[in-house]
């Protein structure tokens, strides 16, 4: 299998409110098409690890390689372009842009990437929304949708640039059980049918147990994977 992400000895300190070692040398690898859950108690460092993987947090030591690119030590602006192309992010609270329409929210990352003409991007966005069962709401303001719908729009937004990895920070943490199931099955399908690599941080053991692999963190170290 193709290796898509490798993490080598990642160490991270928090300096506020006092010096504290969050991650104590984390090593693991992810293969293409894997659906991985990172679990662990609060404070185990799982979210911190995810933000480091997402390239948004650069204050760590160790080495991270995504899709053949070494992202450690790269400048912020280059990382932004890298994120744009390779990483789709789904947050706990959907985090859509409330002033933009649903379709604009989905289209923005692709418009930023600027590889395809606008009408192609729009069609792709419609396609994704249809696949995620958010139909007939495209021109509405994002803030007018229900929580479950918003999370599905956020997933569509994460998918628009066909990213190498989708990262989810408790993507179902704020949803009821029906919507949680819905989001999980979407992830499951993406991984199985389209070979999409997915890494999520979750508290939900049901969610985690149905993944391909579970990485459990405790006090900044991997205790099982």
């Amino acid at each position: 299998m193709e290796k898509i992400l490798s993490v080598n000895n990642v160490v991270k300190y928090f300096h506020q409110p006092e010096d504290f070692q969050v991650l104590k040398g984390v090593d693991f690898e992810v293969e293409k098409g894997e659906f991985i859950s990172i679990i662990g108690k609060s404070g185990s460092g799982k979210s911190t690890l995810l933000y480091i993987l997402s390239t948004m947090d650069t204050d760590y030591s160790g080495n991270i390689n995504i899709n053949g690119t070494n992202v450690t030590g790269v400048k912020q602006n280059k990382l932004a372009a890298f994120r744009n192309e390779h990483i789709g992010f789904v947050f706990q609270f959907h985090f859509l842009l409330p002033e933009f329409s649903v379709i604009d929210n989905v289209m923005l990352p692709a418009l930023k990437l600027g590889r395809k003409p606008k009408n192609v991007i729009r069609e792709r966005a419609y396609e994704l929304l249809k696949m995620l069962d958010v139909v007939g709401q495209e021109e509405k303001k994002a803030s007018l949708l229900s929580g479950g719908q918003q999370q599905r729009v956020a997933i569509a937004r994460a998918l628009i640039n066909d990213p190498t990895v989708i990262m989810g920070d408790e993507p179902t943490g704020n949803l009821d059980s029906k919507n949680t199931k819905n989001v999980f099955s979407i992830f499951r399908e993406l991984s199985r049918e389209q070979g999409q690599t997915i890494i999520t941080v979750t508290h939900d053991t049901d969610f985690a147990n149905n993944c391909d692999r579970v990485i459990e963190l405790k006090d900044g170290q991997i205790i099982s994977q």
Partner: protein
Amino acid sequence: MNTNNKIAWTHLTSKVQQLIVAVLSVTFGISMYIFMNGFMGGVNVTFDDIAFSSMSHIRIYNDSPNDEPSLLPQPSNNTVQFIHNTRHVKYTEGIKNASDILQSVKEFPQVTAVTEQINQNVFFRNGITKVSGNLSGIDVENEDKVFQISKYMIKGNINDLDKRNDGIVLGSGLAQSICVNMGDNVMLTTGDGINQAFKVLGIFETGSSSVDKSKAMISIRSARQLFSKNAAYASDIQVNVKDFNKADLVSNKMSKIIPYKVESWKDGNSQLESSSMLRNILAKVISIAILTVAGFGIYNIMNMTVNEKMREIAIFKAMGFNGKDIVHIFLMQSLCIGVIGGIVGMGFGSLVIYIVKQIPYKIASFTSLPVAFRLIDYVMAFFFGLIVTIIAGYLPAKKASRIDPVEILRG
């Protein structure tokens, strides 16, 4: 449309009320800038008009010679020469060949108007009242070109002086002090003791009371007659140039070819120049203060916008927008505010100037407050307004670009 511009536009249009407040603060700054400068410009023009109503840019006259005349040739080595009580014996008084001088003055390209005058001190008598003052013999048509004297006529018509040889036009204060009115007779007594009666054909008021209290005008032909002078005689030649601030340069050139004293208004009137400069500085300082206040308004609003949108900025960054994009998005918004505010401000500023122009205010020949519409004020207002907006918008935008998405997204 560029993606960043589209985002900026969405932000702007989704909060119309905030947009209006921001635009108004720019509008206010720009319109007050335009009004202040227009008003100050008007005041300056008025001051200059009043100053130049009795003074031309350049005056040519026959100055008494200052150098000691050498009556005898310098004696040889062993001779001592004593000369006591030297004095000037004036053969010529005034300018004898005024028409020649007028001709050569007119050849200067900077000269816009030139006129000849005969100025003498005389007594004005009416019954037992006797007042001394200045009598000007004027060439009505050219005098009007240099001094716009017809603008200051409050009664009668200055052109009537050409129609009657015995006509006179008096300053308002002078007319009052010798108790004469339109159509009355006034007796002039010259320094040589010649008396002649003149009929009052008009009364003027320049706004400079020392002039209004002492000056009277008759036609130059009558003046030559009154003072028994030849037909080309004048005591002064008054010249106006295109830019009165450069009068001294022109006068320097003239003095090389004209055998009389050539004096620009700046010699001995530097107080006029400095007060006009001070007024200009004052206007600039006030307008900069206004623009700074308006700038703070924009800064506040943009800062508030950035603070409100912290989370969205973090999302933009997570999606792959970099610091430059964020600066672009927020700077674009301030720029839009600046341009809209600038355009509305120019319109509103014109309206304020127009309204102020309607306020009745009696000074000299003016009936309302003096204001000036000047293109340069609009250009500068827009230009400075834009600079202030860019600075006020850039600082919050820069702050936004530095936001760490991890901190915001993790809560």
